[in-house]
Amino acid sequence: MSALRRPLPGWVEIGLLPLANIALAFLVVSVIVAIIGVDPLHALRLLVLGALGSSESIGYTLYYATNFIFTGLAVAVAFHAGLFNIGGEGQAYIGGLGCGLAVLALDRYLPGLLMIPLAILASAAFGAAWAAIPAWMQAWRGSHIVITTIMFNFVASALMVYLMVNVLIAPGSMTPQSRGFGASAQVPSMQAALQWIGIAVAPSALNLSLLLALLSCVGVWIFLWHTPWGYGLRTMGHNPEAALYAGTNLKRTTMLAMCLSGALAGGVAVNELLGVHHRLVLDFAAGYGFTGIAVALMGRGHPLGIVLAALLFGALQQGGAELAFESPRITREMVVVIQGLVILFSGALVHLPRPWLQALFARRG
């Protein structure tokens, strides 16, 4: 068999290649930062300190990472089935609708121990349902899932604006947001949880949803690599004909993969609504769905890699915000450019350093 792409040792592929990608991205970033007249090393220091300098900044980094883990997993699960789910954004948004509806209807009657799991289930179920429609259209009608999931992001956005402005808005409120959630529907903040076991940290948006995200990682790992359904799903992703031969129902597996993907995207609603805003608001999912694609790519579709990539993007998000705040010449837009470059180098140009690494390892390979 001829392999056109020569293999690299496993640890180089998983460990060194992404590092090389990030290093390249930062190299280009330094050049740009230097051009606008800021010392790159100083900027880097601000970025790192902003992301990891205090328990508060670490808290925010982890809070962003939580969202990225959910959307990264969502993209990865679909991707293992050979499906490109661009709709994480919309699925997270509609997941929020499910979450909000459940809480607004029941938070007065149920204790937290019932309310929170129910709200989580509602987020997952609504996210899954929003992904199920494009999945169904692809499996039975042949509409391409990339197109339909993108369109469904817009539909979700329009639907939410309509509902928030006309239906779910709190009576008497001037901004389109629902009434506040009752105490039984609030996921405890990490600060409160840690205080309870005697550790003091600064308050931040980080809440216990992070644990749910990590549990989801374990769940996805078990599902994909240790269950027959995960096996069938991966078979379909690699080789639909082999899946057909093996007796895997392609339509059903498409539905399964997308529903799971949508449910995972719904996790963003848990982190944002139950954990931070404590009410249903507009645009809470903005950007997370798309960055999830980069997270999944960079994490090579593996939960462990996704956690690491999510940490990186969380740090960029938090550190970038601090950087923009501290350094007047670097605007918010600049920070987006930096993130974009990291995505570019670890996504689209992921194979760029490969020849160099190959040259390095060819003699030993």
Binding site: T227, T235, E241, A242, A246
Partner: protein
């Protein structure tokens, strides 16, 4: 000796290559003479493809040198190889189906910004090649509409157009019908006469004996013999390859038939465009017999296997397998067929039989992933799967015996053995087999055929589809011939001969 070296188009010296713990090529030194056809034979996994991939710059050797025209050269990529006039025709074609032949030929060498100029130049070149080498293909035909043999000719043309004087072909005939193979061999002879140096890897000794001047025999990564073709014969080569005597005849007792396990009645299959792929097929396979289906590929054999294994529902008629009736309104899926005891070795191992990106252990349970002992309480039992795979590898002599290796890292023949092992290991009642020995070495062919007969003797109903007439003749107790989606004749094994079967396969006695 010195002038001999000057005559070598290519010389490999001490080439060595390992993949992790697998030592694929061990210090190989060979010389390929200019303007000759050199054959390379050897068992599955002997290192033939790896050696040629090194020559073509796909892999880098751990040690050794490559000399082209007596000068040492660096082969870091196929681009270098092409630069030195070396071209390779891959077993799976790398053509764009929806492009025309001409468009495919200029792909990657468009000749500047103006595509039209490149196309015009290619057209002239093509005409010249057609004249010089007798390689005729309609330049404006779409690749999708060409036969496999014609597509292969396009691949060869592609390589020649890039100026190759040295042509490597890795198992080119594995996908060809016997007639197309004859055409190919004829083309190779013409190329040689025009000064092209050809290296031919094949498992079919008939082809080696027909066209080569020299044969190189590899075993376990080493060159174990080099022979002038004129001084050797099939038995000799087979023994050199395998390291023991190989028996070409399969002695088997007469079939002891039992009840009918698979019966089809008036099966038909019509595709979306209304083409009849299967037309009024009726057949029976009894426990304890091997029924062979002969035919030129593309006459409905593939579709017949798809229908009988539950991958595609029939359009009309019905069939019964192990007591389960199937027709258009009562379809069945492949998982249920497996439950019934129907196993299926698919024709196309890379597209259907395995997932190249899966580990061998994962491939060894494809289709059985939700069954005991691999899966309890909805969780796969990794260690049990690994052990199962190791057992299969032991029983079917799959090399290397590494369940943790990617399926794509196995040589073609070893992939085939792993798939056969998977399907035969669970003692099926009915065994559907497509091209059982495609791309498999002689020793393994002998082994696989014996295993099929053993299954038969254990009471399995075996249906074998093969385009190799010789295979059908040696295996089958009863032979059906397919032509244009129909069964056009049935012959008992004793009364069959290649000539009458060949005539039927060509549709001469269409019923």
């Amino acid at each position: 000796m010195q002038e001999l070296t000057a005559d070598a188009a290519i010389e490999l010296r001490g080439i060595d290559k390992s993949f992790g713990s697998v030592h694929a090529v061990r210090g190989v030194s060979v010389r390929i003479e200019r303007g000759s056809i050199t054959g390379i034979v050897g068992e599955n996994g002997a290192g033939k493809s790896t050696l040629m991939s090194i020559l073509y710059g796909l892999y880098r050797a751990d040690a050794g040198e490559i000399l082209v025209d007596g000068r040492p050269v660096e082969m870091a990529s196929p681009r270098d190889a092409i630069g030195h006039g070396i071209g390779m025709v891959h077993q799976h074609f790398m053509l764009v189906d929806s492009f025309t032949v001409l468009e495919n030929l200029v792909l990657g060498a468009e000749g500047g910004a103006l595509l039209a100029r490149g196309l015009a130049a290619a057209r002239t070149e093509l005409a010249r090649l057609a004249r010089d080498y007798g390689l005729t293909v309609d330049p404006d035909a779409r690749v999708a509409d060409l036969s496999v043999g014609e597509q292969q000719r396009v691949e060869i043309l592609k390589v020649l157009l890039r100026g190759a004087r040295i042509l490597i072909l890795d198992e080119p005939s594995a996908v060809l019908t016997p007639q197309e193979t004859d055409r190919l061999l004829q083309i190779l002879r013409v190329l040689r006469d025009r000064g092209v140096t050809v290296v031919l890897i094949t498992h079919k000794l008939r082809e080696i004996l027909a066209v080569t001047e020299k044969v190189i025999v590899m075993r376990r990564g080493e060159v174990v013999a080099e022979r002038r073709t004129a001084d050797t014969n099939a038995e000799d080569l087979a023994e050199l390859m395998v390291g023991r005597k190989v028996r070409f005849d399969l002695d088997k007792a007469p079939a002891r038939k039992g009840e009918t396990l698979l019966a089809a009645r008036h099966l038909s299959l019509v595709d979306g465009r209304g083409v009849r792929l299967l037309d009024d097929i009726s057949l029976e396979v009894k426990a304890g017999e091997i029924v062979g289906i002969a035919g030129v590929s593309g006459n409905g054999q593939t579709e017949l296997l798809q229908v009988l294994s539950g991958i595609r529902p029939p359009s009309g008629g019905e069939f019964e397998a192990c007591g389960r009736k199937v027709d258009a309104t009562h379809p069945v899926d492949p998982a249920e067929m497996r439950d019934l005891g129907v196993a299926h070795v698919p024709e196309d191992r890379l597209r259907q039989g395995l997932v190249p990106a899966f580990l061998a252990s994962e491939t060894s349970i494809l289709g059985y992933q939700d069954r005991e002992p691999f899966c309890h309480n909805y969780i796969l039992d990794g260690p049990a799967v690994g052990k199962y795979c190791a057992d299969l590898m032991e029983r079917f002599d799959v090399r290397p015996r590494t369940p943790g290796l990617l399926s794509s890292s196995f040589s073609g023949g070893n992939q085939q053995k792993l798939i056969l092992a998977r399907e035969m290991a669970r003692d099926p009642k009915v065994l559907l087999v497509g091209q059982p020995t495609r791309g498999v070495d002689i020793g393994a062919i002998e082994f696989i055929r014996r295993e099929l007969v053993r299954s038969r003797d254990a009471g399995c109903a075996v249906l074998v589809v093969s385009v190799e007439l010789e295979e059908i003749l040696s295996l089958a107790d009863r032979i059906l011939v397919m032509f244009a989606g129909r069964i056009v004749g049935e012959v008992a094994a004793g009364q069959a001969d290649e000539r009458t079967l060949g005539l039927m396969m060509a549709g001469a006695r269409a019923a």
